[in-house]
C-alpha cells in the first residue's frame, strides 16, 4: 500500500477496463514522474470528455453537438441504416470507407444475464426512424457472438412486417489469412455463406 493520494490514483486507474493492479501501479508512477504540463493536459482531456461529449439525438453515436458528424453530413445516403452495438463499431466501419449510409447505435446487445432487454437498448428510437419509409435497407452489424446474433434475430423479426430489406453482415474467413488456421466455427460459417463466383 502506498501513501493516500498515490494509492487513490492506483485504485482509480485499476477500475478502468483492461487495467490490472500491476498496470495501474505502472501508469500511476508514470504520471508521478511526468511533466506537470502533460499531466494537466490529460486531466483537462478527461474533464472535457465528460462535459462536452453528448450522444447524437438521431443515431446515438458520440457527438460534440446535437447530432453526430455522420448524421449531419448531407452526402450520406438516407435510405440505408447500419445497426451497431457501440460507438466504437461506427469508427471501425467508417475506417473501411465502404459504407455511405447512416448508423444506429443500440448501446449494447440483448443479454438477460446482465439484465439487458430490448427496452434497455435504443430499439424504440430505431423504430421511430424507420416509420416514415425513407429507409429501405437495414444492415445488422451487431457482434458475431451469441448476444449479437440474438439481437440481430430479434430486430429482423421486428422489422419483417415493415417490408424492409434486412441484411446481416457476413461471417467468414479473414482476408490475407490461411485457411488451415481458421477455427471450425468460422470455417463452417464461411461454407454456409459461400457465394457464386461470377466470371
Amino acid at each position: 500500500m502506498y501513501e493516500g493520494v498515490v494509492q487513490d490514483l492506483i485504485d482509480e486507474l485499476g477500475r478502468l477496463p483492461g487495467v490490472g493492479p500491476k498496470s495501474a501501479q505502472r501508469i500511476a508512477f508514470h504520471i508521478l514522474q511526468a511533466d506537470p504540463v502533460d499531466v494537466r493536459r490529460l486531466a483537462f482531456a478527461l474533464q472535457q470528455v465528460k462535459e462536452k461529449v453528448r450522444f447524437c439525438s438521431v443515431c446515438g453515436n458520440v457527438a460534440e453537438s446535437e447530432q453526430c458528424r455522420v448524421c449531419l453530413d448531407p452526402r450520406r445516403d438516407l435510405a440505408v441504416i447500419c445497426v451497431v452495438e457501440e460507438s466504437k463499431d461506427v469508427v471501425a466501419i467508417e475506417r473501411t470507407r465502404e459504407f455511405r449510409g447512416r448508423y444506429h447505435v443500440l448501446g449494447g446487445a440483448i443479454s438477460p444475464i446482465e439484465g439487458v432487454g430490448p427496452d434497455d437498448l435504443r430499439i424504440r428510437e430505431l423504430m421511430t426512424r424507420l416509420a416514415d419509409g425513407t429507409v429501405t435497407e437495414l444492415i445488422l452489424a451487431t457482434d458475431p457472438n451469441l448476444e449479437g446474433e440474438a439481437t440481430a434475430t430479434y430486430l429482423a423479426r421486428l422489422c419483417k412486417p415493415m417490408g424492409l430489406k434486412v441484411t446481416r453482415l457476413a461471417s467468414g474467413l479473414p482476408v490475407g489469412g490461411d485457411l488451415e488456421y481458421a477455427d471450425e466455427v468460422t470455417l463452417g460459417r464461411a461454407f454456409e455463406g459461400r457465394r457464386l463466383l461470377d466470371v
Binding site: I110, S111, P112, I113, G115, G117, P118, D119, L146, E147, E149, A150, T153, Y154, R157, D183, E184, V185
Partner: protein, 378 residues
C-alpha cells in the same frame, strides 16, 4: 499415443516435479495423501481441460502459489512429439502453449492428448445423478471430436441467457404485472437453444449407438454370466428419438412451445439436452437402484472400456489411466480388468500398496512419497 515426460510446477502438492515415462505399464505406488493421484490428475487435465476430482480449478494450485503449470511431451501417431503446456490460474482463463508457441487457445489443446480414466468416482456413473452420465457422454464426445467443445459451451451459454430471462420474467410475474417485453425475446432464445441443443442431442444419440455394442461386449468379458446391458438415450420430453439434426431441432422447438407456461412459472428451462438422460439397463431393469455393488462396478468399468475401444478404433490410441481402482474391486474383476487393459500402448496405474497392482500389469514402478517421485524398477 503416450506421454514421454510430465512436468508439474505448483500443481496440487508438488512445487516442482519431473517424471520421465515409458510406453507400457507404469505404476505409481505410495501411501495415501502422498500425491499419486495428483500426477494422473494432471495428465487427465491436459486431455479434458478439467479435473476428474474437482469442478473448480482452485484446489489444483499449490497453497500459496498463484498458478499451476502442467507440461507434457506427447508422442502421437507416427512418433511425432508434441509439447503441450497449460497454465492454470484460478478465476482466470487458462493459458495454453503447443510446442512452445504462445498463440493457441486452451481449446486447441484438446485432442493432442487423449485419455480414458478409471477412478473410484466412476461408480457414480451408474449410481449417481443423470448429470454424471451426461458429463460422461459429453467428455467422450469432445475426446472424439474436439470441435464439439465449442458446441457444448455455446449450448451452455444459450441456456444461461435463457434461464436468466425466464427468471426475471418469473420474478416480475410474482410481483404483479411483469413486463411483456421480457418475454418478447424468448422466441429468439428458443431458436438458438433448439439449434445448438439439436446439434448436441444428435451427436449424443450417435455416440450412444456406437457405444452400445462395445459396452455389451466389455460387460460380458468382465461378468460372463450376468445379464445383457442396454443403453438408452432418453429425451427430457415425450416423443421418439430424432433421426436427423433437423428433426431434433423441430422437436425441441415444439417441446419448448409446449413447456412454456411451466417454464415461465418456474423461471427455468425444462427441456433440452441438459435434462436428457442416459438410461443404463441391465436385462429388463435399470442398473441404478437395482444392480448390486459388484454389478454396478462392472457396468462402470464397461463404460470406460467401451470408451477406450471406441477412441482406439477411430485412430490415436488413448492413454489409459487407472487411478486407485484395483483396491475397489474383488479379485475376479481386478484380474479381468488387468487382462483387458494390459495391451494398451500406455497404462498408468496408481495404488496405495504394491499388492493392489495385478500381476498381469508388469512394467515400471515409481514410489511416490512426500512429493518425491522415485523410479524403482528397470
Amino acid at each position: 499415443m503416450h506421454v514421454a515426460h510430465l512436468s508439474l510446477a505448483d500443481f496440487r502438492s508438488y512445487a516442482r516435479v519431473e517424471v520421465p515415462l515409458d510406453p507400457g505399464v507404469t505404476a505409481f505406488v505410495g501411501p495415501n495423501g502422498q500425491g499419486k493421484t495428483n500426477l494422473v490428475e494432471a495428465i487427465g487435465y491436459l486431455a479434458t481441460l478439467g479435473s476428474h476430482r474437482v469442478a473448480s480449478d482452485a484446489p489444483l494450485v499449490r497453497l500459496g502459489a498463484e498458478r499451476a503449470v502442467v507440461r507434457a511431451s506427447v508422442v502421437g501417431q507416427g512418433g511425432r512429439t508434441t509439447l503441450v503446456e497449460l497454465e492454470i490460474t484460478p478465476g482466470k482463463a487458462n493459458r495454453a502453449r503447443l510446442n512452445r508457441s504462445d498463440n493457441v487457445r486452451p481449446r486447441d489443446v484438446l485432442g493432442v492428448l487423449r485419455t480414458v480414466l478409471f477412478a473410484p468416482e466412476d461408480l457414480t456413473l451408474v449410481k449417481g445423478d443423470p448429470g454424471e452420465r451426461r458429463r460422461f457422454l459429453d467428455e467422450l464426445l469432445t475426446a472424439r471430436a474436439p470441435r464439439l467443445a465449442g458446441v457444448r459451451s455455446d449450448y451452455e451459454r444459450v441456456l444461461k441467457q435463457r434461464n436468466a430471462l425466464l427468471k426475471t420474467a418469473a420474478t416480475a410475474r410474482r410481483h404483479g404485472g411483469g413486463k411483456a417485453a421480457d418475454l418478447a425475446t424468448l422466441e429468439v432464445w428458443d431458436g438458438h437453444l433448439a439449434r445448438t441443443g439439436a446439434e448436441l442431442t444428435a451427436f449424443r444419440i450417435q455416440l450412444v449407438a456406437a457405444l452400445q455394442p462395445l459396452v455389451a461386449e466389455a460387460y460380458r468379458q468382465l461378468a460372463p454370466d450376468a445379464g445383457e446391458t442396454v443403453l438408452e438415450y432418453r429425451h427430457s420430453f415425450e416423443g421418439e428419438l430424432p433421426s436427423s439434426r433437423e428433426q431434433a431441432e423441430q422437436q425441441l422447438l415444439d417441446a419448448l412451445q409446449a413447456a412454456r407456461p411451466q417454464e415461465v412459472a418456474r423461471g427455468l428451462t425444462l427441456v433440452g439436452p441438459h435434462r436428457d438422460e442416459l438410461l443404463l439397463r441391465l436385462g429388463p431393469l435399470p442398473a441404478k437402484g437395482y444392480a448390486s455393488h459388484g454389478e454396478s462396478w462392472s457396468y462402470a468399468l464397461a463404460l470406460r472400456l467401451a470408451s477406450y475401444e471406441l477412441l482406439r478404433s477411430e485412430g490415436g490410441e488413448p492413454v489409459l489411466i487407472l487411478d486407485d481402482v484395483f483396491a475397489e474391486l474383488d479379485a475376479r474383476r481386478r484380474d479381468r480388468l488387468a487382462e483387458l487393459v494390459a495391451g494398451g500402448e500406455q497404462v498408468l496405474v496408481t495404488a496405495a500398496v504394491a499388492e493392489d497392482v495385478p500381476k498381469a500389469l508388469t512394467g515400471a514402478r515409481y514410489a511416490v512419497s512426500d512429493g518425491a517421485v522415485t523410479r524403482l524398477t528397470p
